[in-house]
């Protein structure tokens, strides 16, 4: 089942089917299990996918066309409302604002923040001593492996208005960071939380660059920027794409900023997952929440498809 791309399937499949069905069959059943037993092996996985992916997705699709609510009459007897929820989403300022905010959040925290910072740390640590490297990597990893709720607590204490650590460090009096710079705060929070992944991936990517190329660059007197541009980036282009897509996908779905700001003040940090939560569970509009979720699933699928496509192209090279 690795052959899913039409471009590599058609040319070799047709002649095989017509001329040598027997050999082809052998190829397909390499383990010699036969169809029944093979199906039995795959069944558990399919069941899990069915329960946890397909069924919820279909259910969400159904809920999205009802006016189902958490409480009240519409909770007991939801009514079919067709595409109202979707039309409502696309014409609703709150929804559109939230999409825009999510873009800013992804751009700021994932693409610019985590990737640039992750790469910078990986690049600097490449030549650093073992101890320093160990310390830095452990610290960055801490931000990643600690439970999000713990980190959120630390950040609440850091940014607190009255006795916050940041205010006493900077001498900024009673600055309410989470209220005055809400988007910047959650972006910084998410960078802290997720940089480790980019750093780890870039570290191993940098290690895969042939030392001879770096050496040659150094010998010919290339500066840091020239080395990066002409030797490093061309070598790790594939890794950069991978990191970019994965980090985008995760950041797009991340809910933890809610622990800091609950989407507020007002709706200023209401990124997409937070909007759905507030809509569905705080105001109890489950039908609308489901419709919004489906839109989110579609966006996720689009990003995932791009990712798979890029990955396949890399493999083919």
């Amino acid at each position: 089942m690795t052959r899913t791309s039409p471009t590599d399937q058609e040319p070799d499949e047709q002649p095989v089917v017509e001329t040598a069905p027997k050999r082809r069959r052998l190829d397909e059943d390499a383990a010699g299990l036969g169809r029944t037993r093979a199906s039995a092996f795959v069944a558990p996985a399919l069941v899990l996918i069915g329960i946890f992916l397909v069924f919820p997705a279909l259910w969400t699709l159904y809920l999205g066309v009802t006016n189902w609510q958490l409480t009240g009459l519409a909770a007991a007897e939801p009514e079919f409302v067709g595409l109202d929820n979707y039309i409502d989403a696309l014409t609703n300022d709150r929804f559109l604002d939230s999409v825009f905010r999510t873009l800013v959040f992804v751009l700021g925290s994932a693409l610019i923040g985590q990737m640039v910072l992750g790469f910078t740390i990986a690049w600097l640590m490449r030549t650093a001593g073992k101890t320093l490297r160990g310390i830095v990597e452990t610290l960055v990893l801490m931000g990643w492996i600690l439970p999000a709720s713990v980190i959120a607590w630390l950040w609440l204490v850091l940014l607190d208005r009255r006795e916050g650590t940041l205010n006493s460090l900077l001498g900024t009096g009673e600055t309410a960071w989470l209220l005055e710079y809400p988007m910047q705060s959650i972006i910084a929070f998410n960078i802290f939380n997720g940089t480790a992944f980019a750093m780890l991936l870039f570290s191993s990517a940098l290690a895969s660059i042939p030392p001879s190329q770096l050496e040659t660059a150094r010998m010919s007197g290339a500066g840091t920027w020239a080395t990066l541009r002409d030797v490093v980036f061309p070598n790790i282009r594939g890794h950069i794409l991978t990191v970019m897509l994965l980090v985008t996908l995760w950041t797009f779905n991340v809910f933890t900023p809610f622990l800091l700001t609950q989407g507020g003040p007002g709706q200023e940090t209401e990124i997409f997952p937070v909007l759905i939560y507030r809509m569905a569970l705080e105001t109890g509009q489950l039908g609308r929440g489901a419709a919004f979720s489906l839109i989110m699933i579609v966006i996720n699928l689009a990003i995932a498809l791009i990712y798979l496509r890029v990955l396949r192209e890399r493999r083919q090279k």
């Binding site: 199906s39 069944a43 399919l46 409480t71 009240g72 009459l73 909770a75 209220l179 507020g264």
Partner: protein, 472 residues
Amino acid sequence: MKTRSMRSRAGGFAVGLSTAALVLAACGSDDDSDAPADGEEVTEATLTIAENAIRGGKNAEVAEWVEDWVIPEFEEMKAEDGVDVTVEFDGSGADDEDYKTSLALDLQTGEGADVIGGFDGIWTGEFAQADYIQPLNEIYSGADDWEGWDQVPEAVQQNMSFEGDRYGIPVGTDGRVIYYNTELFAEAGLPEDWQPTSWEEILDAARQLQELDGVTPIQINAGTPMGEATTMQGFLPLLAGTGAEIYDEDASLWMGASPEMQQVLDFYNTIYVEEELGDPLLQQEAAGRDNSFLMFSEHELGMLIEGDYLWRSVITPDSDIAPMEDRDEVVGWAKIPAVEPGAGVGGQDFVSMSGGGGQVLNPNTDYPELAWELLSFMNSKEALLERYGDDPRITSRADVNEELDLDEMIRYITDEVLPITFYRPGLEEYPEVSIALQESTEAVVTGTSPADAAEQYQSSLEGIVGDENIAN
């Protein structure tokens, strides 16, 4: 070849789905085998009590009372009858709105505690209409014969009733006043015995308090993070002081962006934006209400409108939220005035808002009779005296109130506030309207003009109750 493999894939998918359906069906059927059949004698049972209360946190006294008194007493009582009952306590310390969401989710999936407390009376309508809760006498047929009903005034029973049916036992009622810090008042040259008779006098006092260093003059709840506290302690008492009510019972119409609403929002605007007598950031903080309690207990806040809950549960000297050692000496209280004398609803000079929660039974309980016994035991005279003996409040039972040694504050609520108070409309739409009201105050404190905020409210309201149900 191709089609065959497709078919087998589709077959596998179908198998997967049908297995999924089986598993889900198994999860869905909740017929615990230990549930008694009808008429069978129960000899062993486990019951759960849920409250939005937790040791060392929110409503700690309730949690302690349940765990240290109710549970052992009830278990012992039942053991004497030969029934081996185990009662568990499911505590929580969440914001009321989050607690409500988790209750709704529990009940929707057929789960949840047998006896559910911390239930705001205003949720009764929407929960009943969603079929999450049922009238007590439908869950247990003997519920109407409870001796306690005679002690609970009709108006208080209404808190936990919907369309004429009792869905729960109310725990009591409350009232709202302006609390003020007499020490700060003295420092600012204001009388320690203070009773404003108009909004202007509140503003005057706040202006004088503004002269003090490190003191926020006034806190009137605004914004969505404070949830229902914004509506109940902020918007609605002010609105009652303008002579308007949010819902006109006689005409069955909701109030839209009326001149009275404009007046209330103007008042918010004066306090938070124009004169900065209050702290607009506090209204937007996720923990803003708790912080307002802390500020008040630490003498950093001059005045705040709150219910008697503040007095008896938040700033008590041994409180876990905002202990105030010198509460009895420092805290003063006054009735909330109308805009000007005689301008309130019904020509009143002073106004207040009251509500109250209670406990309901979970319709999904395996032991309806035992659950009812536990519920009524928790609301027996003996249990309430145990609970409120040292920590008085206005309970729902007249016989208990007579014996309680009400302190000065609670007596003030009974004698002065309850006669002038108003209640929220017990309608399914109310909670959503309440959120729209909170949003309008939030808009004002974040700098939107009152006129625009009122307009936004009008359009939210149209979306909630429909154009035809709004008075113009």
